[in-house]
Symmetry: none
Subunit: 122 residues, 4 copies
């Protein structure tokens, strides 16, 4: 669980952590039931404040990606929401598709990229 954080980015650090964990789960680098590093450990490794990691975990928990174990640890959830694509996700995707189109990325290229990212190939 090496976090690559960009402190100069406009994306909040807790969001970057959240995103990378979501990516890790989707690409099956983290499997359901796998243990996630303790807050203190992750904070030390990443060189950030514990509050920041705590916020990321709280967000992931609220979204249903992870859950607290009875013993104290935190693990990847066994089941995720099957709610399909939310409205928020669709709007975010729409903006990206627009930007890609205006950047002269062809539909074929774009589709291919979407597929590769979905399958975790890149």
């Amino acid at each position: 669980m090496l976090m690559k954080l960009d402190f100069g980015s406009d994306v909040p650090i807790y969001q970057q952590i959240r995103n990378q964990i979501v990516n890790a789960i989707a690409s099956e680098k983290l499997l359901p039931g796998d243990k996630i590093p303790a807050i203190r450990v992750m904070a030390d490794e990443a060189g950030v404040n514990m509050m920041t990691v705590n916020k990321a975990y709280a967000l992931l928990k609220q979204e249903g990606y992870i859950k607290s174990e009875r013993r104290g640890g935190t693990v990847v959830a066994e089941e995720f929401g099957k709610g399909g694509l939310g409205e928020g996700l669709r709007e975010r995707l729409r903006v990206i598709a627009s930007e890609a189109r205006l950047a002269a990325v062809s539909e074929e290229e774009f589709i291919k990229l979407c597929g590769k990212l979905y399958r975790g190939e890149i």
Copy 2:
């Protein structure tokens, strides 16, 4: 140019305005050379402060989507950067693909959605 703004969202208003204009250009509701509403007009219509619209326009200008004409008015640029998909865009897309996958959206569904959004069908 009716803006649909969500004042409760965590995405800044100026970003929402920026996104909707990018979408409008990509879906050809706004064509190169078309005039976009004056800052004050848009501010009045959207019920936000002039400076907020100003910031959105400044961002769009910096990104090359629009340009001020110096004789009054702001227009959609004739040419956009043909730089292809930037690294930032890819990372944003990766997170969305991950979330879709974990929301039990099949690859086929996801690809179909990407295509529709790219073509501006929905």
Copy 3:
């Protein structure tokens, strides 16, 4: 006297006109005593408002680069201020030198460029 104007630039149009005339005089494409196009003519050719050309000419006159003829025309002045480099010019040059240095332009390159521009070679 073909003006190349960029209406999308942040430099005011009257300044662009003024700059190009100064450049033309310095590179001896316009010689002392040469007649400068009438305001109306220049405005038509450049596709701008007469007031804009008028403002450019007024600025050039105030700076001593051109002067009105008794008959009504406007000509390049015979003598320019021998005042040396003003403080304002030096500060503008300082900023450019700083930007060049930070853009990794070597001192040699920079000096060479300054010389070529001074001699009007490029």
Copy 4:
């Protein structure tokens, strides 16, 4: 970081602030990684509004000279764009060279001045 501002100048205050910071970086009075004053502090010291300083910083950030650190504070960037002299910079330099020539500054004097400014000697 004392700003010398000319409130009567036609160059915007935020530009003056931007220019002086660029000069400070180029002359190594500010080194990569150095912290620059907080927006509010600089605003107080300079006697201007926070938003004005904010705009200057935003510009510098966009140009890659500084970056916000997300843990409080803004620092001088470690690496600058090595893009060489842009077209805009050349045109600005051309006008200055023309003005210098017409002010009867000899090529030798001009070159010497350019060198000194580049090296930060004056």
